[in-house]
Amino acid sequence: MLRILFLKEYIKTRWFILAAALTLSGFSLYMMMNLYRIVNLKGAMHIWEVILQKDALFIDLIQWLPVIFGILLGLFQYVPEMHRKCLKLTLHLPVSYTKLGMLMVGYGVAALTGVFLLSFIILWTMMSRVLMPEMVSNILSHSLVWYLAGILSYLFTAWITIEPTWKRRLINIIVSVFMLKIFFISNVAGSYYAFMPILALYTIAASTLSILSISRFKTGVQD
């Protein structure tokens, strides 16, 4: 059953996931090629100096991509369910609606994690060749905040899309924007160290939001 439910989600999202993986990996490669070019021109010492003195991350170009991909994956996965209330078909399956909701969200989180992991591995492998391990760790741990924001944006999109009323949808959008803003307050490497567990908990808690919308959909709440 798990396999077949995932198959449904896969059919809806496969091309998007492929495009997202290629784009994010492409951007990651592009940034690393840029880094290599500077190393070739000015030497690795110059890069280290810029990183230490100016708190440069060299991977800022991708900071918004996880959020954008999170939102798009949510739309690709849930808009077809809401089109002509197709979600009724899913919720009519002989499986509890909380389980169905969590499985759908689980698929999305797993798919996004895969896409982000690919980009993370590219950054880590290529950075490690020219930067000190501490610098790599600092920069990449900061990128984790962006990836986490990507997953959270996906969870919020699911929550917003399944919500049956426009009034509540608008409130959900406003809440989501403010919540996501927390992930982009600082762009200084290491600034989120202490805060990361809270952000992670926050994201885990958000995974149940779509169940709230499903429950409202089930009771037939209307504008």
């Binding site: 449904k8 078909l89 009519h92 009771t219």
Partner: protein, 292 residues
């Protein structure tokens, strides 16, 4: 006889607008029951409550003895649901959708689905999004037949279908329900289709049920009476008379009362050349609910 559906004292409002109050009805096993009503009388509301997608303001609905709002997910295996407009997963093709649903239903009858698909002469890889409404209706019907549920709940099954597809749908469904002793609860805005299919009907007006009875009883007992009347005529005794109207001196009224009694009553009130007319389901519906 065992009731498959039992709705008790359903009351529902959209905002402050009352849809109906204290609506009660039941559907016995093996019956095909059609819910008829004008637009806005609450047919889709009733289907939504029955399929668990609307919490009624008060009252309860039991299917297979279980309250629909607390129904065990496994029980849904025995309920085939057709959503208005033959909605199905547009992102799947006809092979994928069969594979998807078959995983959830142990009694799945793959052949029943593919028999209908062969009629459509479509390739297994044909996407549902590229199908016409008529073709989609056959996919939806094929999936329900393959699921082989004990109860079918069909919301406006004729919506968007041309006469050929409507006839195909009705004939398939009728044959299936009668041969397998299935229970069907359905709505449609095309009453001629219902007449070919249903055993029993509920006719709703705004906020209430006008009648629930076997179609044959309704058609045998409910008649239209026509006659001529003078200018300024009005029916003084309207007991058990439905929707009397006069147009250019032609009078008509509907009633369940015995033909002899009605004719005598109308004659005594001044209706001349009065005679009764046997009705089809659509005329009976109009007779009970009025033209507007």
């Amino acid at each position: 006889m065992e009731n498959i559906i039992e709705c008790r004292n359903l009351t529902h409002y959209y905002g402050k607008r009352k849809i109906y109050e204290d609506l009660s009805f039941s559907v016995p096993k093996g019956r095909i029951l059609g819910l008829l009503g004008k637009n806005g009388t609450g047919k889709t509301t009733t289907i939504n409550i029955l399929s668990g997608y609307l919490q009624p303001h008060s009252g309860e609905c039991l299917i297979f003895g279980e309250n629909i709002t607390k129904m065990h997910p496994e029980t849904r295996r025995e309920i085939g649901l057709l959503i208005e407009g033959h909605v199905q997963y547009q992102f799947m093709n006809i092979e994928q959708i069969e594979k998807f649903y078959s995983a959830f239903y142990p009694k799945w009858k793959r052949e029943a689905y593919y028999e209908l698909m062969r009629r459509l002469q479509v390739a297994p890889g044909q996407s549902i999004s590229r199908m016409s409404c008529g073709q989609r209706s056959q996919v939806a019907l094929g999936l329900i037949l393959a699921q082989d549920p004990e109860l079918l709940v069909l919301d406006d099954f004729s919506l968007g279908l041309d006469p050929g597809y409507r006839r195909l749908f009705v004939d398939y469904l009728s044959e299936y329900a009668h041969s397998e002793n299935k229970t069907i609860f359905l709505t449609s805005h095309i009453i001629q289709d219902m007449e070919r299919l249903i055993d029993e009907c509920i006719i709703m007006d705004y906020g209430r049920i006008l009648t629930q009875q076997p179609v044959n009883d309704l058609l045998n007992n409910f008649r239209r009476y026509e006659g001529r009347v003078a200018d300024g005529f009005s029916l003084s005794d309207k007991t058990d008379m439905y929707n009397p109207s006069i147009y250019k001196g032609e009078f008509e009224v509907y009633s369940f009362l015995p033909e002899k009694d009605v004719l005598a009553n109308l004659d005594s009130q001044g209706v001349r050349e009065c005679y009764s007319v046997n009705l089809g389901l659509e005329d009976a519906f109009i007779g009970l609910t009025g033209k507007y």
